[in-house]
Amino acid sequence: MTARDDILNKLRSRGRVPETPPPVWQSRRRFESLAARFAESLPKVKGEVIRVESPDGALETLDTLFNDLGAQRIVANGDLPTLDWAARWPDREWHLVGQSDGDLRAFCAAADVGLSGAEAALAETGSIVVAAGPTKSRLATLLPPVHIALVPESILMPDIFTWTAARRNETPANIAIISGPSKTGDIEQVLAVGVHGPRRFIVILYGE
């Protein structure tokens, strides 16, 4: 008998009476403003939120951030607003995932900033949801020391329950719910950021 059959038989032979699972738990969060709650939650875990009125405002914010960070090498996922990024910031080095040639992994490992969009944003916890895909790299939001996400207010939801309820059928190979910068408390409970992933996690939340 294979290990599989052995385990399944053992489980079935225990004579456990099947129970009916409870009905699905519905979100009980009601926020007056999803954007306000999001902007309040993320900084509590050392994430940063910059709210702007419009997509144009988001790009201007990026201008400032790139300058402040001294960002030279930027890797950008394909879930961002359509734009000729390299043309707008010509004196910086870009890797556009799915478009640029060259070694994505090596570029990410040496990049100053990873730029991404998001599938959804959860107001309660100040989280964004990023998925893997042909133009969406996992390493782009993971290896660079700074992760900047451009998030339209239209994708805000109350919480994780509303997110799972809205889940579509097809599941990508990787979905990450990101709720702040990489951090650890493993040395004497002292908070230290950027242990493996980004040291800074900045969400530009824009209206449309």
Partner: protein
């Protein structure tokens, strides 16, 4: 694994209690966790109802575990993952080593996993000539120190910054400043980043496994879980069969309790869900994914009084709440699992006889039950395990003799009184202000215990006197009592009658 006998447990507990550095570290860490948990749960609407709901999900899932496992297997395979089954820890290790060999792997990176701690996978890998590198900062610290984890969530919480700096300095070959924790962290980032990018395989556990899509979910704060499952060309996940979660909706309940109960975070920083290997068009992510569903003693608990222990989500809240854990530290449990959950789980998975001391490592105060997100009745199971020890004659001959002697003596009123009277006389030279002068160090590891003396007069004695001798009014009390009962009965009768006529 040698097990935890009474002798062993006492020895380790004494050592831990006598170590002021360890005491300080464990006190501080568990207090931080406790405070954060309480605040985080207080912020959730209807949190008690949510916990009841979660318990119902866990219980219903376990009642049909075989079906859910089959669904999981089917969906994971459909997403392109290879699913393996392992009856025990050794089998799980063999499968991992076999896959590693096929890849010609020299070095593997691991993200924190209790399942692979349980199977001692690192040892098996090293024996096969493969170098495992733990990447969770806490796990890396204890790997460098050559120690087992001392807490489910904070494996190195017993280590001070000085000890960590020493370990890291040795690793990087130059002295590091213990007081600069950000610099220590940055050093770990530098060393481990290089490992992520050159490892042949990433190995993880799973916090939960979602059956409806065949996904595994990994929760970390550092991001090492994402790196381990994204950077190397292959990923192996070792998953205990009880980690199954039927649907994503259920997973949302699970996740919203896990982070809050563990570290007081509404969600941990990275909730990483993996469904099969990277798709053909994806530009990064592992090209191969293996999932090992491991039993290792779990299936035998289904349908027994101990099934509830399988509802555990390894949040560590019961450790932080436990007064015994706080004194004896994680290593006294001789295992990767510790605290109240360890005291129940270890005997059930690895044998009651060899771990006889663990069901007794509890004051039965109930704090663990109070904080458990799945409301697992650990105190009840600790008592049941103690009863099992009696039934299975696991307790030592001496203990058995003493217990039955006491049971007999309690039935011998006269003899008992006589012995108590003797005790009152002979204790005199040992008494200081109503306390016994010394308690044998056996029962007094911290040296702070002072037992009360036998009272001048026993309760039994006082009671008898009160009723019969000293108080001339005693018979009157008896009559008064009877009168009160009669009056009460009459009153109740009237009430009942009144109820009918109106």
């Amino acid at each position: 694994m040698s097990g935890v006998t009474f002798k062993q447990f006492k020895f380790d507990a004494h050592k831990a209690i006598a170590d002021p550095v360890l005491q300080g570290a464990v006190d501080g860490a568990t207090r931080t966790f406790r405070t954060a948990r309480a605040a985080a749960l207080a912020d959730v609407p209807d949190v008690d109802e949510l916990r009841d709901h979660f318990k119902a999900i866990r219980s219903a899932t376990l009642s049909r575990l075989a079906d859910h496992l089959e669904t999981f297997e089917r969906q994971a395979a459909a997403a392109g993952a290879h699913v393996h089954w392992a009856q025990d820890g050794a089998a799980a290790n063999r499968i991992v080593v076999e896959i590693a060999r096929q890849h010609g792997a020299q070095m593997v990176v691991k993200s924190k996993s209790m399942a692979t701690e349980e199977t001692h996978l690192n040892k098996a890998l090293i024996e096969a000539g493969i170098t495992p590198v733990e990447t969770d900062l806490g796990e890396w610290i204890i790997q460098l120190a050559g120690e087992p984890p001392s807490h489910i969530v904070g494996p190195a919480l017993h280590k001070t910054r000085q000890q960590v700096a020493e370990l890291f300095s040795r690793e990087v070959g130059r002295p590091l400043d213990p007081d600069d924790i950000p610099a220590l962290t940055a050093e770990a980032r530098r060393v481990l980043r290089e490992k992520f990018l050159t490892a042949d395989i990433g190995i993880s556990g799973a916090n939960l496994a979602v059956a409806e899509t065949g996904s595994i979910v990994l929760v970390t704060n550092e991001g090492n879980g994402r790196l381990v499952t994204s950077a190397p060309p292959a990923h192996i996940a070792v998953v205990g069969i009880e980690k199954i979660c039927p649907t994503w909706d259920d997973a949302a309940v699970w996740l919203s309790l896990l982070g809050r109960s563990a570290t007081g975070q509404p969600l941990s920083i990275y909730t990483n869900t993996i469904t099969g290997p990277a798709r053909a068009a994806d530009l990064d992510g592992p090209r191969e994914m293996h999932i090992i569903l491991m039993d290792n003693g779990r299936s035998g608990l289904i349908g027994t009084g101990y099934e509830e222990v399988l509802q555990c989500i390894r949040c560590g809240a019961c450790l932080n709440a436990c007064p015994v854990y706080q004194e004896v530290g994680g290593h006294s449990y001789g295992n990767a699992y510790s605290g109240p959950i360890g005291a129940v789980l270890i005997p059930l998975l690895f044998g009651l006889e060899s771990n006889e001391a663990l069901p007794h490592a509890s004051s039965l105060c109930g704090a663990c039950l109070e904080v458990c997100p799945a409301r697992i009745d650990l105190p009840r199971m600790l008592l049941d395990l103690r009863a099992d020890e009696v039934d299975q004659h696991i307790l030592s001959r001496e203990e058995h003799l003493i217990e039955s002697g006491i049971a007999w003596l309690l039935g011998q009123r006269r003899l008992f009184n006589f012995l108590a009277d003797m005790g009152r006389i002979f204790q005199k030279p040992l008494v200081d202000q109503d306390r016994l002068l010394a308690v044998p160090p056996e029962f007094n590891p911290a040296g702070e215990r002072r037992l009360p003396t036998l009272a001048e007069r026993s309760f039994h004695d006082l009671w008898n006197n009160l009723r019969e001798e000293d108080d001339p009014a005693a018979p009157v009390y008896g009559w008064l009592h009877l009168a009160a009962v009669v009056l009460a009965l009459l009153f109740i009768l009237r009430l009942l009658k009144g109820g009918k006529t109106s």
